[in-house]
């Protein structure tokens, strides 16, 4: 259950996908998302799907993990698909009472479900699963750098994101542990009405908050001990530099994007 949340989880590896510059990856992910909405018809979707399958295969992330990451969103996928199925007018396939299902409805429903599923798995594979949180925030910081001129606290924002991402798995693990411990004393999280269930969360939330604050406090002290003062005068251990691989990735993606757009307008 709670362990199924793989958000913020990074699977180390050496694949091509792992090695692409994080800045490039972020841009390409954005392009991928835009393309999913631009794409029309089998050709556009086919290209997106092929790209996705290629990325999954190359990155060696097991299909099981990808399917698991979609589990929490399964409801939304199914829900949008069903809504679409009933509300799109067109040639009627079956009709009963006030409900009618059309050919167009089914088509849209399939595309819709496919789009959401590809959106989720694509961003996971391209970003979180194959990019370490540090690289990811580094990339975001670089991309947002122009905003620094407007006095926008880019570095601070990036640091906050790094920390938040870093602590998601820790908090999940902690929640799991506290839940087990309270279950050992007979806590019941699964039965009863809504109010009872909400009340049953108190024994989890109180220790969780206390430990989160304790961790935050410790981290702040540790950062101060190492004289952290924000971005002023800070240099990097690893400076991001574009490699030939990155240019290749950009070119290939560009070609794919153009073909998707062309297939959509034609």
């Amino acid at each position: 259950m709670i362990k199924d949340i793989t958000l913020g989880q990074y699977f180390p590896g050496e694949s091509v996908i792992h090695r692409i510059d994080p800045r490039v990856k972020i841009i390409l992910t954005l392009a991928y998302i835009v393309m999913l909405f631009v794409a029309k018809g089998p050709i556009g979707y086919g290209i997106c799907l092929a790209a996705l399958i290629y990325m999954i295969a190359v990155s060696k992330i097991s299909l099981r993990i990808i399917l698991r990451s979609m589990k929490p969103l399964l409801f939304i996928i199914v829900f949008t698909a069903i809504l679409n199925m009933f509300y799109i007018p067109g040639r009627i396939l079956v009709e009963f009472w006030i409900l009618r299902i059309t050919y167009e409805g089914i088509e849209t429903a399939i595309y819709m479900a496919l789009r959401i599923a590809m959106l989720i798995s694509g961003t996971f594979v391209l970003l979180t699963y194959t990019t370490s949180p540090i690289m990811l925030t580094d990339g975001i910081e670089h991309l947002l750098n122009p905003l620094k001129k407007l006095k926008f606290p880019v570095h601070e924002l990036a640091m906050m994101m790094t920390i938040a991402l870093r602590f998601i798995p820790t908090l999940i693990e902690e929640t799991d542990k506290i839940m087990s411990a309270q279950k050992a004393r007979g806590a019941d999280f699964e039965s009863g009405n809504l109010i009872n269930r909400a009340r049953a969360l108190v024994p989890i939330l109180v220790p969780l908050f206390i430990s989160a604050f304790r961790r935050a406090d410790e981290l702040a002290v540790a950062m101060e001990c190492r004289c952290y003062r924000g971005s002023v005068g800070r240099t990097r251990l690893k400076v991001l530099k574009m490699q030939p691989l990155d240019y290749i990735a950009i070119c290939v993606s560009l070609v794919l994007c153009v073909s998707i757009i062309l297939s959509a307008v034609m």
Binding site: F11, P12, G13, S62, R64, I65, K177, I178, S180, A181, Q182, K183, A184, R185, G186, A187, D188, V202, P203, V206, P207, I210, S211
Partner: protein, 289 residues
Amino acid sequence: MSTIIEARSLTYTYGVGTPFEHTALDNVSFRIEEGEFVGIIGHTGSGKSTLVQMLNGLVTPSSGEVYFRDKNIHDKDYKLRDMRFKVGLVFQYPEYQLFEETVYRDIAFGPKNMGLSESEIDDRVREAARFTGIREEQLEKSPFELSGGQKRRVAIAGVLAMRPEVLILDEPTSGLDPRGRERILELIKSYHRERGTTVLFVTHSMEDIARTVERLIVLNESKLVLDDIPENVFLKADFLDSIGLDVPQITKVFMLLSEKYGINIPTSVYTVKYAKKIVDELMAKGEIK
């Protein structure tokens, strides 16, 4: 004596299908008899915590079964929640699970979940507090005002208040000073003596366990490697050393005496009291001065 808990070929793998796949427990079997005081020992990461969480059904084994009083706890209609009141588990670092406004109410959490009457709960809370050495006036304090060691005792009291038939403690002395350790050990021992409760005591310190338990289960790299009375376990000092465990100081002294100086003494000594007796005897016989 009758068997109260039986573990049959328990195996558990974390993160199946991810690059982090790891077998935390590999084909572990044993029986615990009613009233026994058993120590489970193993180095860090050997699977001790995973094992004890299986014994009260919090972790479902990948394969193998757990039997409590001859009933498979993973049967569909088995009431796991009721069983957890009978197999009380004190987690590692239990002080981080306190949540109530007062110590009293935190200790009462378990009994309340059992659906007991107010007066019965009051009885149990006070008894558990007495056992763990929590003073009357501390009961109305917030648990977060207490010291680490005191919090630990409150958490243990919270499990004792359920009056479990089996008490499992996962490293109850870790992170405490010698005096704090001594007090926790003492309270567990006296609880075992007075109530006759079956106790499973998890630790990675031989020193803690040597003076306390009647039987030792040794885990190494997810496998059960020894299951015997302490004397026999400590005879295998070299083996224990090779799996990252230590024998008690006093045993080491006796081994040295026997090996280096050829003094004819048993090397399975593991309590200072017993050691003193032997030395006294030898002195009386005039073999040593």
